[in-house]
Amino acid sequence: MLAELSDLRGVSGDEGIVRRLLVEKLDQFQSKTAVDTMGNLLVRKGSKSINPRIMLSAHMDEVGLMVMSIHDSGLLKFKPVGGIDRRVLVAKRVRIGAEGLPGVIGSKPVHLQKEGEQKKPFDEEKLFIDAGFKNRSEAEKNVQIGDYVTFDSSCVELGDGFYRGKAFDDRAGCQILLELLLENNGLVFDAAFTVQEEVGARGAAVAAYTLQPQVALAVETTAAADTPETEKESISTALGAGPAISFMDRTIMVSRDMREGLVEAAETAGVPYQFRRFTGAGTEAGIIALTRDGIKTGVVAVPCRYIHSPHSILQEKDIRATVNLIRAWLERRQ
């Protein structure tokens, strides 16, 4: 499922293909699904009414690029959609537009570089996508400005339960929501597969406004920094240690009782968990928490190395543990 979801090409603003696959898989919920004007997919599980009403959210979009202009030479200029460290762009293969035309982001070969040039990263303005077109008119036959571009990578199992692929942020979250919806667990909750999180948590604002839950949980992936070159005290999360519970990020201060509720669910259900030991970066949780007259919101995230780059790495057992944690948490609130 992770491979199926993460291989799909759905950059912020172009999530249709992800949504269509989810709708297909959620066929049994037909009458309880809705798509709003932004493209959020909203699903209601269970017919009983519970108090408080709960919403789980995961975003369908991934970071990518947008074709901005076509050069006389046939090369394409681009800008990132969502936050991408420009240093991971160079020397990568990409796929352009709905057809997924292959292209490369090339760079000046090392043989032709001057002394000291390597010390500075490539200037984003000077990077191009080369899809092999010989000139502008050939390019214009095949691509348009505004076309979305994704990394060209597919999900592979590395062994020991580790996976490598693109868009684990947040197709892993979508997978978790999908599993909880499809399980025969008798749980009651609303699920929001949201759009455009990467460009500012846009879909979540609208989904929360429409669904009006009293309590919400954003299901995300979060940066794991358990690698050499990171000081021990700066390790935000580690692979294999279970879902990361946030206490604070740039958008939200998670209330103590929300945090404690998640910890309690994890401990009594015997699910390993860790804290997200980082207060920067944002999630949808913040904007959900401030919708209308306020929603009690928390964040649970699957640790993932190298998010927002062509090849992320995560561990399957963390996804399993996250499903178990959220199930246990929901069970205590029915």
């Binding site: 009293q214 000081e231 021990k232 005290e233 700066s234 206490f247 604070m248 201060m253 998670v254 209330s255 103590r256 945090r259 804290f275 030991r277 980082f278 207060t279 920067g280 928490a289 401030l290 209308r292 007259d293 306020g294 929603i295 009690k296």
Partner: protein, 334 residues
Amino acid sequence: MEKTIMRLTEAFGPSGEEEAVRTAIKDLVKGSADRIFEDSLGSLFFLREGPSPRIMVSAHMDEIGIIVTHIDGNGFLRIAPIGGVAPRMLPGQRLRFRDGITGTVYHEKIKDIKELDWSKLYLDIGQDSAEAAGEIVTIGDVACFDQPFRALPGGRCMAKAMDDRVGCAVLVETINRLPAELPQAVCFVFTVQEELGLRGAKTAAYRYEPDYGLAVDVTLVGDTPRAATMAVSLGKGPAVKVKDNSLLCHPVVREYMAETAEKYKIPYQLEVLERGGTDAGAIHTSRQGVPSGAISIPCRYVHTPSELVDSSDVENAVDLLQKLLTLSWPAVKE
């Protein structure tokens, strides 16, 4: 008035953990309200029914602080900011946790103060192992400056968290002095999480649906040696805000405030704050818009442990607020 300011400034309440401030306020408010309640984020409402228009008066309960992100093997704590805390404000400062545990901040070896950032700071609570430290604090715990209130000869006083406990004190005093009958409905809201981006005020305004908004907060001054240009000074009266980064105060509200001050011979100043915001910024864009303004208490050394105000400015602010609420606000246009 000074006792109230002391009680409120010494209370523990970094953004997200305002419980102790809520308790202190409920204790100090002796005036009557038709309804007292809290919302899901923790803002505290004292509501007085009445005819239209509905006035929302707000002051924020939260203060800036730090949050613990890591406990290292030797018992040192790593920290991250809550709100606008500057790293250079911390070395040698004492911080206090909710239950009274204290510590001091220092930094790793650096060549130059310019290198000082959050990754180099740590909090020492006097424990020499992760186990010992873990007995008394946990990751996610928050702390505030540990500094007592001090009255200075001549009527000035200093404390941590004058921003915005002095505003809360103005509201408390005003509630306590209001007559039984008022010409219009008023709701006093003690908001949460202003320091993280005016969060509590957003949901509170949505809930109360005011016709007018008025925030009481601190503002900077320009009367210290070679200070940045600012036409507000201590001791010249509360400031009627014209602009800050979060709002352009509505001329109707601003003029009503200035006219009232002049009519009742209450000294006041006009304030343009070049950066920073207040709750009024979140209130005025709520729903279809709410004409809003602010009364600002001139304050030196904002966001340090020794914020300094003049009690005459505070008294005059109470006078002004009281007059504003006992007179009729301009009728709301259809």
